[in-house]
């Protein structure tokens, strides 16, 4: 009965109901987007960092991995030191660099990673095989497209380009053995992987034992922090970064987006609440005589309140459901804008749909819808019946 009365009351003012539902839908969409943004980037980055099980990273002191061109010297000694710690299960040293490949009358420039393919955590193999030999190279689709190379092709690969003399410091012939996807690669970025020793040799004497980054797997999560402290104490000149400290750095750098999400999310919630409250207040004021007559006929106060609150819930839930679809669509569009950040890994999503967060957002909105209807309905249902009927008759 209450449902039927609430529904017919909403249908009586169809334009108003439609507009209010639409307003709530936009507010819900915005709220959902902002909830997705406030948690998405962090969660997406965390998933990416832990995707290969490396819980610790070592970068040159005071820097984040690949944040600058700085490198760490004496890689072999550092690897030996790290392996002496029984808590460290795997050590993967990575050197970053730039390589140049002459193709016809042009030169293709690409990022290169020197890695140990057996323990690497930077790419996933799509076809072919890992560059296990010293004269082998694997590239991503953008690289293979730019060079026109296929599996088994041999490329002249050079490093250390001197623009004044137009010469290269190191040059090698490398065979393309694999097609890979780099986990941390940016959109349209040309990237390759080869043996660490190969890239070190190509970099000349200065880079013979250098690495840009070390990635480590630790026996258990509880050992991460003690191991990190041990590394910082034992190896000078490096910063040991755990997943949580890397996330904290990212949080600090991108705090703007999180704060924007919180502010806009709160505003959306408030707007949705305000919209339903205004609608319910006006609707109740319009129906004072109707409500009073119902009360005079013996309909209980609770019944009246429930019917009006139900109207608010219908509008809010209807708007929230429409807003869910609208929010997912707009999130995809906004994500496509932010994904074009220069240098941002393709795998990072600013807007990540997490059911828990989505339900929380929509639950909050529904609660605000209920709250919006409670006060005006209670006020209307509490009016003195006889006086109100008399006033309405005079009016």
């Amino acid at each position: 009965m209450r449902f039927a009365l609430a529904w017919s009351s909403l249908r009586r003012h169809s334009t108003r109901t439609l507009l209010a539902t639409l307003g709530v839908a936009v507010a819900a969409a915005m709220l959902l987007d902002m909830v997705m943004m406030s948690t998405g980037l962090r969660e997406s980055f965390r998933e990416l960092l832990l995707s290969r099980g490396f819980q610790l990273r070592l970068a040159p002191k005071g820097t984040l991995p690949f944040d600058t061109d700085a490198t760490i010297e004496n890689t072999s000694a550092i690897v030996a030191t790290l392996r002496s710690n029984p808590n460290i299960v795997t050590v993967s040293a990575v050197l970053g660099g730039t390589i140049h490949i002459p193709v016809g009358d042009r030169v293709v420039t690409s990022a290169a990673l020197g890695i140990d393919p057996r323990v690497q955590g930077d790419y996933e193999l799509l076809s072919g095989k890992d560059p296990l030999g010293p004269d082998e190279i694997a590239g991503n689709d953008d690289f293979l497209r730019a060079t026109g190379a296929r599996m088994g092709d041999t490329l002249d690969v050079a490093t250390g380009y001197d623009p004044q003399l137009r010469t290269y410091a190191g040059s090698r012939k490398l065979v393309v053995t694999g097609r890979v996807r780099f986990l941390y690669g940016a959109a349209n970025q040309l990237a390759t992987a080869m043996q660490l020793a190969t890239l070190q040799e190509m970099g000349g004497p200065d880079r013979r034992d250098d690495a840009s980054l070390f990635m480590m797997k630790v026996r258990s999560d509880s050992e991460v922090e003690p191991t990190r402290t041990w590394i910082e104490r034992t190896i000078p000149g490096v910063s040991a970064i755990s997943t949580s400290s890397a996330l904290a750095q990212v949080d600090q750098r991108l705090s703007y987006f999180r704060q924007l999400a919180i502010i806009l999310g709160t505003v959306s919630l408030f707007v949705g609440f305000l919209l339903v409250t205004t609608l319910m207040t006006v609707s109740v004021n319009e129906r004072i005589s109707e409500i009073t007559v119902m009360r005079a006929l013996g309909v209980s106060r609770a019944h009246v309140v429930q019917q009006i609150v139900l109207e608010g819930i219908f509008i809010t839930v209807g708007g929230a459901i429409a807003g869910l679809g609208l929010g997912l669509l707009t999130a995809r569009y906004l994500n496509s804008i932010l994904s074009s950040f220069p240098g941002l890994p393709v795998a990072i999503d600013f807007f990540l749909f997490q059911p828990k967060a989505a339900w929380m957002a929509l639950g909050l909105l529904s609660l605000s819808g209920i709250a919006a209807g409670v006060y005006p309905s209670y006020r209307a249902a509490s009016l003195p019946i006889a006086t109100t009927l008399r006033q309405e008759a005079i009016a």
């Binding site: 334009t15 639409l22 307003g23 936009v26 804008i337």
Partner: protein, 269 residues
């Protein structure tokens, strides 16, 4: 006199320390003051390095490219930096001042025609290339702005509709008294415009206060003199214009709907 000459000779024999300028962020964090001696090296923890004297603490420029990077900046003499980082007699770039736009075009084409191993770029082109991050942020803000405008438009339309609907009996009375439909519509639209104008005034005020707060907060967070929020005349004009158009449009729609309903129906008869 003899003592003065001896002191001068002693100074000549000592290696003269070069001076550097550091940015205020580094000075504050590392508690470095003018006159302090520092050892600079290209690699962290490397032995040796050059001892330098801090001669100046400089204010950071309002460069958006630095915003998300918590880097420190040090300015050194070119030859000293080349020596410290083992860069030989090389530089990353030359900045060239020209006499005007025409001279710039000539210089760019002359250098590119004659130079071997490097290219000349206009500062404007470099600025475009390096500001991609901010173009992305700007596009994002515009998209959020469009969503906000859509939400505001619906909200405004809804509120205006409700406001006008509240006046059903007034409008019915006016119509029964012989007031024309056009007069009623004009009256309601004028009221909507006034309401929108008052809202605009309040909105500009709230926007200005928010803008001040945003600048104060983010300048502190990122330690930069950069302005994060600017309220300009075109922005205020756009916001006020849009609100007025939306307010008047909503008022017009709602009033037209009302005056088309027979007065007795509006009375509920």
């Amino acid at each position: 006199m003899l003592i003065r000459i001896a002191a001068a000779l002693l100074l000549l024999q000592q290696p003269s320390n070069r001076t550097i300028a550091i940015d205020e962020r580094l000075a504050e964090d590392a508690r470095i003051a003018i006159g302090d001696r520092l050892v600079v090296s290209a690699r962290p923890g490397a032995s040796g390095g050059d001892t330098v004297i801090v001669s100046a603490i400089v204010k950071r420029g309002a460069d958006p490219a630095d915003i998300a990077r918590s880097e420190y900046q040090v300015r050194m003499h070119l030859d000293q930096l080349q020596k410290v980082v083992g860069y030989g007699d090389r530089v990353d770039r030359f900045a060239v001042a020209t006499r005007g736009p025409a001279a710039t075009e000539r210089a760019v084409s002359d250098i590119n025609a004659a130079a071997f191993g490097f290219r000349a770029h206009r500062s404007r082109d470099i600025a475009v290339g390096t500001s991609r991050t901010f173009q992305v942020v700007s596009r994002f803000h515009k998209a959020i702005g469009v969503i906000t405008i859509v939400a505001s438009a619906i909200f405004l339309l809804c509120i205006m509709l409700l406001k006008v609907e509240e006046r059903r009996r007034d409008v019915a009375a006016l119509r029964l008294m012989g007031i024309s439909r056009a007069t009623v519509v004009r009256g309601i639209v004028a009221e909507a415009a006034l309401l929108a104008l008052i809202g605009c005034g309040l909105g500009v005020g709230v926007g200005w206060v928010s803008s001040q707060f945003i600048n104060w907060y983010y300048q502190g967070v990122y330690r930069t003199p950069l302005y994060f929020s600017l309220i300009t005349t075109p922005i205020v004009t756009l916001a006020v214009g849009l609100s007025l158009v939306l307010g008047i449009g909503a008022g017009l729609l709602a009033s037209l709907r009302l005056v088309r309903t027979p007065p007795l129906t509006l009375f509920g008869r």
